[in-house]
């Protein structure tokens, strides 16, 4: 093996096919977007070189800023929610659930395999208020909490929160399974020893489990970050970006700009910004992955 790895030709043979595929489907489109970003209009329709106009426009575009604010809020809430709830569920499976744990794990994981559009439709019904109360409003009404009955996805103040709840519900099972697998990898005698030394639940988590799960937490955060930064299909299915622009993400804005407004050049600038957001965000999360 050592001989093979010293042979540069062999390395090239191993790496090149994947590098070519990666370049064609990832790097080339990014470069293409960069090229497009210097043009106004849409290819085939008023396609003209415009220099840095598209980049300058980005800074004064209130719609872009609003979409970015929505995206950042969504990332913060959903990323922490998915990973946090996933971790809590995994701990629940590991320490407390002795019976039916397979059934419960399957049930919690089940939303992951549901199509996003179906989940969107399901939650539209759950949040429904007109013509009939949905599950949530019916429940609140039955409990006498009529003051809380409201159009959850029909008003800007609650729409984003409602969307976040849906997306946390969908993905938390996925992270729970990952964390559960990581917990199983922790030697039982380490946990046993901590318990013998008198570590309580919180101490056990803080001093034993968290450090041992650290790498997995970082990986899950990056997974979740890259999933949430592209926020698109769930918001489209549940609220279609509304009401107003309350749940319109950067990806949705980019899509609108490029294909509805026919401004592919400016849409490419927004796409490049999303790409940069992904790179910077992932780098920041990696900063926490410091080897002790």
């Amino acid at each position: 093996m050592k001989k093979v790895l010293e042979n540069k030709t062999a390395i090239a043979i191993f790496v090149l096919p994947a590098l070519i595929v990666y370049s064609v489907i990832v790097i080339l489109p990014v470069i293409w977007s960069l090229y497009y970003s210097f043009y106004s209009g849409s290819p085939g329709l008023k396609w003209e070189f415009c220099g840095f106009d598209n980049f300058l426009r980005l800074f004064g575009d209130s719609n872009f800023k609003a979409s970015m604010a929505v995206n950042l809020k969504y990332i913060s809430i959903v990323m922490l929610g998915q990973v946090g709830m996933g971790l809590l569920l995994a701990l629940l499976f590991y320490f407390w659930l002795k019976r039916f744990k397979n059934v419960i794990r399957t049930l919690v994981f089940f939303p992951v395999v549901l199509p996003t559009v179906a989940v969107g439709q399901l939650f539209q019904k759950i949040y429904e208020i007109q013509p009939n109360y949905g599950l949530l409003n019916s429940l609140l009404d039955t409990l006498g909490l009529t003051g809380l009955v409201q159009p959850w996805i029909g008003q800007a103040s609650t729409a984003l929160g409602s969307l976040c709840v849906m997306d946390i519900w969908v993905a938390m099972g996925f992270y729970a399974v990952i964390f559960y697998g990581a917990l199983l990898d922790i030697p039982g005698d380490v946990i046993e020893a901590a318990k013998i030394d008198g570590a309580g639940g919180l101490q056990l988590f803080r001093h034993i489990l968290a450090p041992l799960l650290h790498a997995m937490i970082i990986t899950c955060l990056i997974f979740s970050f890259s999933g949430t930064v592209k926020m698109f299909e769930s918001a489209t299915a549940l609220t279609n970006g509304g009401p107003g622009a309350a749940t319109r993400s950067l990806s949705m804005y980019m899509y609108n700009v490029s294909f509805t407004y026919n401004k592919v050049g400016y849409g490419s600038v927004v796409a490049l910004f999303i790409f940069m957001l992904c790179v910077v965000g992932s780098s920041i999360i990696r900063k926490f992955d410091v080897k002790e």
Partner: protein
């Protein structure tokens, strides 16, 4: 289904002939303000062409003329892009006319039919334009969306083809005027696929229960809403989840207080979206929402649900177009029965500004033809399409599509007849709220209407946001 009548007799009651030639927005007011002898249609078309820079597109300039007096039966495989499946809505008609043309005229004619969802139509067409691969014939949206394609020379000049193939008279002149106005050109670059009238549908039983009469004036309308609300009935079902269901209401009031050309004026920069009347119209809709006329969570109700609420007696009034008759004619959907739903035009505020004979009308989605793929075979098909679509639509669906027809409409359901009568009674027309807006402005108007309804955006800020989007787009 329909009996074919004596051509001359039935043609005399053809809505195309009966309907006004000056259908377009506010012809009366336009004439007065311009002081000229032009019809409203002429005036508006001219203004629009000028505003587009006066550059008449090159499309169609080299259109292929017929080589023979009769269809030479040329081989053609026509690629069609539609938003309707072949067994649904206009898809039925497109399929039927292709089959009829193949059977009766040209056995060498074949077609490929591709369906794309209406939500993705613009994106699909934009992508096809970028790859210079527009299909021979495709469904698109009238108004602003086709202007870019016209200016880029991507579309066949339909007026020129119809003239070359000697079938200009096949189209309803009102539909032609409307299409010209919407594209802002002197020729048409699309064929109509509808002749729709819009207004308020109401549940007769609920009106009777609340002791309401059909309103003619806006004050009467407001009284009806108060009465209905007082009787514990939801006055209006508004499909604000689809956004346009709400902007249509705003437009209704705006047109009645500011005149039918209000939106065109704002688009041309003659007036601002932030002017008093525009803000007043937005305020009116917000006030209605605050008063609870739309029920709870108006933004979660789509147009289908809203229509269903009307038909099942959960709401008394619903704004929609004449295409809603397909739902009304379906007994499984319409629990109100064959005569349970009525229709009234947008009530009048000041008849000198906009009177009761002025209706909101449109041609629905339209059919365009790729200039790149245009050939003589396509021209012959277009001729057949234009000359036969009127009869076919009346026979198969009892609907008016913007073409002259020679068959009788007798035997149509009560709702269909109601629409035909209404179209015949219309003396002038105004377009919908977003008709004159570019894509960006349109999106801002549609997105903002939802937060306007919830009160999270004031009427002033809503109109200001539209004005800003318009400023940005200039």
């Amino acid at each position: 289904m329909w009996e074919v009548e004596d051509e001359e007799k039935s043609f005399s009651r053809n809505p195309a002939a009966a309907m006004m030639t000056s259908l377009l927005t506010g012809c009366g007011n336009k004439q007065a303000s311009d002081g000229g002898g032009q019809t409203g249609a002429e005036t508006e078309s001219a203004a629009k062409t000028e505003s587009a820079g006066g550059a008449e597109p090159a499309a169609g300039a080299d259109s292929v003329k017929p080589s023979a007096a009769e269809d030479p039966k040329l081989t053609k495989n026509m690629k069609i892009l539609s938003i309707w499946a072949e067994d649904n809505d206009n898809g039925v008609l497109i399929k039927a006319i292709c089959e009829k043309y193949q059977k009766e005229v040209n056995p060498n004619f074949t077609w490929d039919y591709e369906v794309v969802s209406s939500d993705n139509l613009r994106q699909k067409v934009a992508t096809l334009v970028a790859s210079n691969d527009l299909p021979d014939m495709f469904v698109y949206e009238s108004g602003k969306p086709i202007v870019d394609l016209i200016e880029a020379g991507k579309l066949v000049n339909v007026s020129k083809v119809l003239k070359d193939f000697n079938c200009e008279d096949a189209l309803n002149p009102s539909a032609v005027s409307l299409l010209k106005s919407l594209s802002g050109t002197e020729d048409i670059y699309d064929l109509p696929l509808g002749m729709n009238v819009e207004g308020f549908w109401y549940n007769k039983a609920l009106f009777e229960q609340a002791g309401c009469q059909v309103p003619n004036t806006w004050d009467e309308f407001e009284s009806v809403l108060v009465k209905l609300k007082g009787a514990g009935i939801q006055p209006i079902a508004c499909g604000a989840a689809d956004k346009w269901g709400a902007t249509r209401l705003l437009n209704s009031y705006l047109v009645r207080i500011a005149g039918p050309e209000a939106m065109a004026k704002a688009d041309e920069g003659i007036s601002n979206y932030t002017d008093e009347d525009y803000v007043k119209a937005a305020q009116k809709i917000q006030d209605w929402a605050k008063a609870g006329y739309f029920g709870e969570g108006v933004n979660t109700v789509d147009m289908n649900t809203a229509g269903s609420m009307l038909m099942t007696g959960q709401a008394a009034i619903f704004y929609n177009g004449s295409w809603f008759t397909s739902n009304l004619n379906d007994a499984s959907q319409n629990l109100a029965g064959e005569d349970g739903i009525g229709f009234f035009n947008v009530p009048v505020v000041d008849p000198y500004v906009s009177d009761e004979s002025s209706y909101s009308m449109n041609c629905g989605n339209i059919l365009s033809f790729s200039q790149k793929n245009y050939d003589e075979a396509t021209g012959w098909f277009m001729k057949y399409f234009a000359e036969n679509m009127g009869d076919l639509a009346m026979e198969l669906q009892g609907s008016v599509k913007g073409y002259n027809y020679t068959v009788s409409a007798e035997g149509a359901s009560g709702y269909t007849q109601l629409v035909l009568d209404t179209i015949n009674n219309a003396e002038s027309a105004f377009t919908w709220f977003e008709a004159t807006m570019g894509n960006e402005v349109q999106n801002v108007a549609k997105d903002g209407i939802q937060t306007l309804l919830t009160g999270e955006l004031s009427a002033e800020d809503y109109m200001k946001s539209i004005q800003e989007a318009w400023d940005m787009s200039q």
